[in-house]
């Protein structure tokens, strides 16, 4: 493993990351054994449903996990240095400077009582010893770069005077202020409607490609990630269940959960044969497991049509698929989706597994 790092140090290498929340009800393994490598200028789509641990993975990398949460294991190698071994001051020096984060709700991430210029100047001066005027100029430049019309006027505005799309542009401009090597975007387009979402997406794509910035795009929306990412990691109940390139994961999903996720995607183009557009969307039967009572084996087994006795022990992130060195699934029964998803979904999940869930 360490031999190939020497010639090209990846921007970020996450090894067996473990983040747990110590609540009164018990210990929640919110992020469990998450590993991935992100090269310079690469875009990773981190996909999963609510509570799958994708956001907490992002927060863990940022070092923003708050009590009762704690990063308890693994390594977070940023350009080869383990961030978990750094002092709080060192980590703060990376935050916003080398690693930036963009949050979901642009309404909430800007301070409502401070003008945009106040907030942006503060962000500049957090990492650079520059005067007020120079910091303000840099802020105006950053706004212009993200396609903000008349940035000088916008600087004087309060957040509530800007629309959702403009506020998210401000947030992106703040993230780009110091030309970071890595941006973690936590569902930044979820709160926006589709036309603005498309604008923001193409803007991000342009900016990231121009600077060679690595990007982790956290989303529950496969269709957003499909057009943006180089690789996709699918998370389920705190673990990565499938990891590969966009084409591998979307065209040839191996894990039954990924297949279910893709199957439940509404699409403007899809027509079921002979049914027109009104075909019913498929859903994955059952519920995500309670993190307090995680089954010792595969977390998806209770909802899985393929589950068998082996699934009662934890599957490893398996060997890569033949001919696809980066495509792995955490499943004992990987394989392409059955010809008719419809029938497989109607089959009730089996026996002993069901009782545990």
């Amino acid at each position: 493993m360490s031999a190939d790092i020497i010639d090209a140090v990846p921007t970020l290498e996450v090894r067996h990351l473990q983040t747990r929340f110590h609540t009164r009800a018990g210990v929640l393994p919110v992020v469990d054994d998450v590993s991935f490598t992100l090269g310079r200028g690469k875009v990773l789509g981190l996909v999963g449903e609510s509570g799958s641990g994708k956001s907490v993975t992002g927060f863990s990398i940022m070092g923003l996990v708050d009590a009762p949460g704690r990063v308890e294991g693994g390594q977070l190698l940023f350009q080869g240095r383990d961030m978990l071994q750094m002092s709080p001051a060192e980590r703060r020096d990376l935050r916003g400077n080398r690693i930036a984060m963009i949050f979901q709700d642009p309404m909430a991430t800007l301070n409502p009582v401070l003008r945009i210029d106040t907030q942006m100047i503060e962000a500049v001066q957090a990492h650079r010893r520059v005067g007020h005027a120079a910091a303000r100029r840099q802020a105006a430049d950053a706004l212009a770069q993200v396609g903000m019309p008349s940035p000088e006027d916008r600087l004087r505005a309060y957040p509530h005077q800007l629309s959702g799309g403009m506020r998210q542009r401000v947030a992106i401009a703040i993230a780009l202020l110091h030309g970071p090597d890595l941006i973690i975007a936590d569902e930044p387009t979820t709160a926006l409607d589709v036309t603005i979402q498309a604008q923001i997406l193409s803007e991000m794509q342009r900016l990231v490609a121009a600077r060679g910035t690595s990007l982790i795009w956290i989303s529950h929306d496969l269709s957003v990630v499909a057009g943006l990412a180089d690789e996709i990691a699918v998370m389920y109940a705190g673990r990565i269940v499938e990891h590969g390139t966009v084409d591998e994961v979307l065209d040839d999903p191996q894990h039954p959960y990924t297949q279910g996720l893709i199957g439940s995607l509404p699409s403007a183009n899809r027509r079921a044969p002979g049914q027109g557009r009104s075909a019913r969307l498929r859903q994955i039967p059952g519920m995500t497991p309670n993190l307090l009572q995680m089954p010792p084996g595969c977390a998806f087994a209770a909802r899985c049509a393929r589950a068998s006795a082996v699934c009662e022990s934890l599957p490893p992130l398996g060997a890569p698929r033949a001919g696809h060195p980066g495509h792995r699934a955490r499943c004992f029964h990987p394989g392409p989706a059955p010809a008719s998803m419809e029938t497989s979904n109607k089959t009730a999940p089996k026996t002993a597994m069901e009782k545990r869930a």
Binding site: F103, D105, A157, H160, G164, I196
Partner: protein, 312 residues
């Protein structure tokens, strides 16, 4: 404020932002404030009282603190009596030492406002600091500070004030010190509660994500969001401090007798009330009443304007 997100609405919002961009949130607060006629009256009264207190030497015929200007022969004259020697009229009468009551009231207002505003501002700074520290530090520091606050707030205020003043002695500075010690706890409790709420907000997370130092987040981001409720408490605490000072002076533990505040003037006239020389207590009392009511009217309106739940 509508959440506009489509392209055309973005343009509309842009135009609106341009129109408003010189207007801060405080402008909106000011506009809302002036909506209530009662509050405007209160503000006007407060302005008159404040200006009168500041301009005291120029608008009064007599310096009531200068014993050389007092004429004991003019003691306890009725309102409207002409001065025997100095050549002006005692429009509000004179007190037992022959002070012109109008002059004494205006000078007394000075002391009352100085004590009220001074103690409220100092208590606000101290209390807010302690509250923010408690909220930020959490754990044992928080628990210790908040139990201290509980302890302070559970004592009867007057009793505490009497105890402290009996120890440190009379004097304007000592009264202010006493009031600060008694009042900072109110600010501390509110500031802590507000800061705890704000700390959970996402903009704080975002600021941390930008690598901004913790104390800068506390003072630059959280504090401004905590200010509205503290401002309201501040306004009402000024009134409370003035009343307390008047009470303490009335009880003989406040300001020295040579520099009477409103409370001391009332106290001085108290003994003459039964002999029908009502004005010695009445006019200082009226001045105190007007001041307190004006401050409370302004404070109430501030609370309404700054309360997000009553807005929109």
């Amino acid at each position: 404020m509508s959440e506009a997100t489509d392209v055309s609405a973005e343009g509309v919002q842009a135009a609106r932002a341009r129109r408003f961009d010189a207007h801060s949130i405080w402008w909106r607060v000011a506009a809302d404030f002036l909506h209530s006629r009662v509050a405007v009256v209160g503000l006007a009264l407060l302005a008159i009282v404040t200006i009168a207190a500041l301009a005291a030497p120029w608008i009064t015929p007599q310096n009531p603190y200068d014993l050389m200007q007092l004429d004991v022969l003019d003691a306890r004259l009725k309102p409207g009596t002409a001065s025997s020697a100095a050549g002006y009229t005692y429009w509000l009468g004179t007190d037992g030492q022959g002070r012109d009551l109008y002059s004494a009231i205006v000078y007394g207002l000075r002391i009352s406002l100085l004590v009220g505003v001074g103690s409220a501002v100092m208590a606000a700074v101290l209390g807010t600091g302690v509250g923010l520290l408690a909220a930020y530090a959490g754990g044992k520091v928080d628990a210790a500070l908040m139990r201290l606050v509980d302890l302070l707030l559970s004592f009867p205020t007057i009793l505490m004030a009497l105890m402290i003043l009996a120890y440190v002695g009379k004097g304007v500075a000592n009264v202010i010190l006493t009031l600060v010690l008694l009042e900072w706890a109110y600010y501390a409790r509110t500031a802590r509660g507000q800061a705890l709420v704000e700390t959970r907000r996402e903009y704080v997370e975002a600021a941390r994500g930008q690598g901004i130092a913790p104390w800068r987040i506390l003072t630059g981001h959280i504090l401004p969001n905590c200010l509205p409720p503290l401002l309201v408490i501040g306004a009402l605490q000024i009134a409370r401090a003035i009343t307390l000072e008047a009470t303490l002076s009335f009880l003989g533990l406040g300001v020295p007798i040579t520099e009477p505040s409103l409370g001391l003037l009332i106290s001085n006239g108290y003994q003459y009330l039964l002999s029908n020389e009502y004005w010695i207590s009445f006019f200082p009392g009226l001045a105190l009443l007007i001041t307190i009511v004006a401050i409370n009217l302004v404070g109430d309106q501030l609370r309404d304007v700054l309360n997000p739940r009553l807005q929109q």
